[in-house]
Symmetry: C2
Subunit: 408 residues, 2 copies
């Protein structure tokens, strides 16, 4: 049986491994300081609370229900908590507006499945979340650059999309402390995206897994809240809010959600039913208990830890990066985005860095839908303590200086 390639669907040609996940396998060496993974610090997971939750559920009459099949939309108790949480962000909604997904990656997959016919266009930022590109690639999407700052006209976006023969189905963006840049959208830019989407009659996908991780500055309302306000309520809104417990509590249970108009939630429920029936009820029940009892206290505690690491990384970058290097100053999240001087290729730098400086990071090219951005890199401060951050950034700075010098 050597003819697999001829049997695969057309879409299979677009499926590629995440460079990052492949990288992470190579970089997991004890002597390398890693700023590569975008993962939360496992030392901060509330293991005791989860232990209590699983023990309580499995030791009670609830066990039978928790170990059985469940409804595709998700457990009411967790959807109720999430609806309350969305209200606290300014989105007036009910549990019927919530679909539980197996992490927000699944939300992106389902949204691609619902909207994208081959060659349809998704508007995305340059750079954008790599996992979103992977999810949409599987439905043979095309991309056009969404740049809320530049005010590009709807007509111009339409022209671009018609070149590839498809329609513009949605604008995808991560407005709070985005992966990979760490940057957030201003209120004005959020309004501009919504207005562009209205002109284009397309949906807006608001991916907000880092929402709970603001370390300073004032919160800006979610696009969904602004959309509800402008359109008269969630049932008239064009925005899909994708939330997640992965960064706020733990990624291990694979629990996220989509909050949107009931009409589209009901379509997404059909997709869920056909793709994996339901997310485990046991995990949903455990997360509901943990969120109900410790969400505020836990996210407050982890914010303190991550804020200190962000501060340490920004300070170290100031101290050790040579002139010509630029980086973002995120108000939250897990990432700092670096632009290297002198056309240094970050992928080449990485192979040197792992050998000599013993520091790992993620080269930025993969986050760009068209493969530009060779001189960019993503640094994550989530899993390193202050000492490692100082040591790692200092070594990396030295390597960059050497590389610039050798190129002159």
């Amino acid at each position: 049986m050597t003819t697999w390639d001829s049997l695969y669907a057309n879409r299979a040609t677009r499926m590629r491994a995440s460079e990052i996940r492949e990288l992470l396998k190579l970089l997991d060496k004890p002597d390398v300081i890693s700023f590569a993974g975008g993962i939360p610090d496992p030392k901060l997971f509330p293991a005791d609370e989860f232990k209590k939750a699983y023990t309580d559920i499995l030791g009670s009459a609830e066990a039978e229900r928790a170990l059985q099949y469940g409804v595709s939309e998700g457990s009411l108790r967790l959807r109720t908590w999430i609806a309350d949480h969305m209200q606290s962000l300014g989105v007036i909604c009910s549990p019927e507006n919530i679909l539980i997904t197996s992490g927000s990656q699944q939300a992106l997959d389902y949204i691609g499945k619902l909207f994208l016919s081959p060659d349809d266009t998704a508007l995305v930022q340059w750079p954008t979340y790599l996992g979103a590109l992977q999810a949409f690639n599987a439905y043979e999407a095309r991309y056009d650059r969404l740049d809320p700052g530049t005010n590009r006209s709807a007509a111009d976006h339409r022209r671009k999309a018609s070149e590839t023969g498809g329609d513009i189905k949605f604008a995808y963006l991560s407005p709070d402390f985005a992966n990979p840049t760490g940057l957030s959208l201003s209120l004005e830019d959020r309004r501009r995206v919504l207005s562009l989407a209205e002109d284009l009659s397309c949906a807006v996908i608001e991916d907000s897994p880092y929402e709970s991780m603001r370390y300073d500055g004032e919160p800006v309302p979610p696009l969904l809240a602004l959309d509800c306000e402008a359109s008269g309520g969630i049932e008239n809104s064009r925005t899909f809010y994708c939330g997640s417990f992965s960064k706020s509590i733990s990624p291990g249970l694979r629990l996220g959600w989509i909050c949107a108009a009931r009409e589209v939630i009901s379509r997404l429920v059909l997709i869920k039913q056909a793709s994996d029936l339901n997310t485990p009820v046991l995990n949903q029940d455990a997360m509901a208990r943990v969120a109900e009892s410790i969400y505020e206290a836990h996210t407050s505690r982890t914010r303190t830890v991550y804020k200190a690491r962000r501060d340490a990384m920004l300070a170290a970058l100031e101290r050790h990066m040579p002139a010509g290097t630029k980086w973002t100053k995120p108000e939250g999240g897990l990432f700092v985005w670096v632009e290297l001087p002198g056309q240094i290729d970050a992928a080449e730098l990485l192979s040197k860095s792992v050998e000599t400086a013993k520091v790992a990071f993620v080269p930025g090219r993969a986050f760009h839908a068209d493969g530009v951005g060779a001189n960019t890199m993503r640094l994550s401060f989530s899993c390193a303590d202050n000492e490692k951050i100082e040591k790692g950034v200092s070594r990396l700075g030295r390597l960059i200086v050497e590389t610039v010098t050798s190129k002159v």
Copy 2:
């Protein structure tokens, strides 16, 4: 925003709610005896063993890993158990031949995603598992009837597929105690399917969630085992075996697997990565512990319970069904398939039955890719005790007699 329909992908027109899952919501009334759900009896779930497993993991140093992101292919410990299990079924394989999925429904979704371009053909039985049709519909599949007994030629299947403009990508079947018929494929028929697939150069999808539920008769080797034997080993095999813990232990953790050649597993890992990153490590670790410690004893105990229920149902059908009614006599699984006399429409019968006889079942039409089979129904004996089975079948028999009489 009232223009959602114009934004949806072409495939969305093929997405419909499972009649069964919609039915189950209506039928959940205390005074109705239900033979409808194809779900295992929750009283048989090993809740204590799961409690111990979750407590042990979350109370130990393993908690950090169990609550973190994991690799897309699945935890090595669980894949190792599964590879051993597959060996016990006659399939020589290693953990690299296994992908962990979120239930075998996800396996079907991924296989559809990997193979099906719009209008490609899947060969399926008439009737077949409804969830498979739902999974493949989302990729705009066409269907042609697979009937291992009739020896239809490859050329004839090819002619049919070319009418709809696509290629035949795979033959899908459930060879052991199939949902909905309860029937199994003979060794000869299994060989015939493999030979047809070879003639067609297509893949074979072997869906086997009920494998552990044989109550009598001799086990027949999985198609994958026969394929490995004939082709020289799993790396040359064209068969994808989809297994599941849903019926053998519990469906609540949503844990299944695909066992196949490494080359195709690596493609499916990419699909997993883009669609939900990974199945929860915590659940995989808990299932590995439970399977390692109680799989044999537990499945042996549940077989005894379900065998008694099957026997009770077959005896009650003998006693209470009028002449002209036919039903299958399954050697395992959860279902008996009934053909009604006198062109009775099972969907019409169901609405009467829920009102008057207070018995629920699933009308058979939805299991047929072309909507035939109006006079068929699926009865599940999984969740009713002997008394309920006797009472329910007796009432149902009376209703069928009345219906036949009124039509004469």
